[in-house]
Amino acid sequence: MGNPMKIRASAKDGVTEIKILMSHEMETGQRKDANGTVIPAWFINEITAKLDGKTVMQAQWGPSISKNPYLAFKVKGGKAGDKVSVTWVDNRGDTRTDEAAVT
């Protein structure tokens, strides 16, 4: 399940800015532990963000996104009270969805 995401969304002058901070290890699969064993890759590879039920952004990620990923973008439209919903899926098939209201 992973830990909750932090989602901030604010509407100003007809544009909604959405900022998301996810909690994930984002292991590359390149690193080795103290015994020289490769640590298997473990990363978020798909993200879907919805504003007011409409998909506004779909992203595909590789392991070279930083640990505890941050994502920010802007959408035309949206108003205070609209619901933002973000879902991620990682390469182990784990998934998490969090929601926030636009302020």
């Binding site: 984002m26 640990k67 973008f73």
Partner: protein
């Protein structure tokens, strides 16, 4: 029971058997994730997998990032496209083991400006690839890394 239902059941059983036997990698479960593009080890392969061929350099594509990243594990990068009908923005790091870091697909109402934090193993050119109106455009910027982000 109709024949169609029978066939579907057989197909499902077959896929299940494949997965159980380990022939289907876990990633294959996510139909959308572009494994070929993310596995690409060279710039040409990555661009080919993304269907970009040789993208035109464009001043309407911008990378907003500092010239020097102190910590390669966390390099903030903003990719901006001023091109109309931008459908997709991808971020590629030339000297990472796998070039492609991320691909963002925009809805028509989404402003083509995304900010993310990427890992960089060493000083490298970072390329932003933009697909707008079915055509590909790119811009590159060198970001110097003083401490690599992909070591152990």
């Amino acid at each position: 029971m109709t024949q169609a239902v029978m066939e579907r059941r057989q197909v499902l059983t077959f896929l299940g058997a494949l997965a159980a036997a380990g022939f289907v990698a876990p990633q294959a479960a996510f139909a959308n994730w572009d494994k070929t593009a993310f596995d690409a080890k060279t710039m040409d392969d990555a661009l080919k997998a993304l269907g970009a061929g040789t993208p035109a350099n464009s001043g309407d594509v911008q990378i907003v990032a500092s010239d020097i990243a102190e910590n390669g594990a966390v390099v903030p990068v903003q990719a901006v496209s001023r091109l109309p009908n931008t459908e997709r923005i991808a971020i590629l790091v030339e000297k990472n083991p796998n070039m492609l870091a991320a691909a963002f697909d925009m809805a028509p109402d989404t402003i083509p400006e995304v900010t993310a934090r990427i890992k960089m193993g060493q000083t490298s050119n970072v390329t932003v690839l933009v697909k707008a109106d079915g055509k590909f455009y790119a811009a590159s910027k060198e970001i110097k890394v003083t401490l690599g982000g992909c070591g152990g």
